[in-house]
Symmetry: C2
Amino acid sequence: MAEGSYHHGNLRTALLERAEAVLAESGADGLSLRSLARDLGVSHAAPSRHFRDRRALLDALAVSGFATLNGAMRAAAEAPDRPVTARLAEVGRAYLGFAVRHAALLDLMFTAKHAEDSSNELCELGHDCLEIVARLIAEAQRAGAVRDGDPVRLALVAFSATHGLAMLAVGSLLDDTPLADATDLTLDVLLAGLRPDPAGSP
Amino acid sequence: MAEGSYHHGNLRTALLERAEAVLAESGADGLSLRSLARDLGVSHAAPSRHFRDRRALLDALAVSGFATLNGAMRAAAEAPDRPVTARLAEVGRAYLGFAVRHAALLDLMFTAKHAEDSSNELCELGHDCLEIVARLIAEAQRAGAVRDGDPVRLALVAFSATHGLAMLAVGSLLDDTPLADATDLTLDVLLAGLRPDPAGSP
DNA sequence: CATCATTGTAGTCAACGACAACATTGGGAA
DNA sequence: TTCCCAATGTTGTCGTTGACTACAATGATG
């Protein structure tokens, strides 16, 4: 692939990489296909060969974001030699770590305004994300660390708490409370709330 | 104000009303100043007399959204003749009710991409929102229904859980779980997690 | 009645997304 | 090998938008 070659050679990947950088520093609204093309030294219509429209590019970014996020969460969930509640907390920390590092991307991933095409794929990835938590909850139930109930719904609760905190942190609604403190407290309240009722449950 | 009068008479209000409707049915991205002007039968530059730019209009919408939301939450928080934990739950339900009825608006309110001008006002309104919860938490602490700790930080936790659930609901990540069920479970876990440790706390 | 700030209008510009027609390239079929 | 064609990139264009400027109508205030 010579210097001034007609074909870029790897435009799709290059677009995604550059797009992620722009997304991080200018948000989704500031991301234009034309400026992306300029940045990469290709013509303004070149991106359309790889992404049908703007949404398709954004959706592709979201998909790759889920790959990263789910990977990080899985790693935290499967950490060896740690009690299940500790791993549950670690998954939450992994989520929050991703959220603060990729704020705009997270927004893209969970704020549903996707094209119908990749909507299915994104939905599925979102469910994978939830399922990681659900599996861990189920394991914690077997270990007696979490109350009875549908693990999927309990995972939804755990996910909500974490996701909500992430959104607040990203939206700078925490001001004087350090994120680390808010994280600790949230996870503590959450795990306490999930614990089986010590009085027994007839 | 005659029919074909030069001055609209109430353009600012009309813009906000129409904008809220468009926002609800097309989202923030589908809201254009020019189409708004067309809808109201004024020239394309008329809106600029009332909103410096697009962001300013969106911010104004967010401000009015906070007025509604905070009002609903305050009403729930001050319901007479109800125990404090029940009112805490009602505030959560009020929040979720607002969220599902005004999904796009909530997004606008909490996803921080505001103009520097109204940023302060919006921040303050967000804090008011949190403070409603914090006050209630403090009251619940006095009643022995919530563990010790900074009420503001505990409110942050409660807010996170509710906000997160709202975001998931709006993003249709709940699929088969009815929102009402998810709400009940979330509030139950949350209130359980906030309860003082029954084993005593030396 | 004159003045003038407020509010709306008309015109313009650059940027963008989308689309269509055309050019270049390289790999596989004949 | 040669030819063809699908993939990929380019140029040109259209309609829409946000933002800006200069100008016009209005009505309240003095």
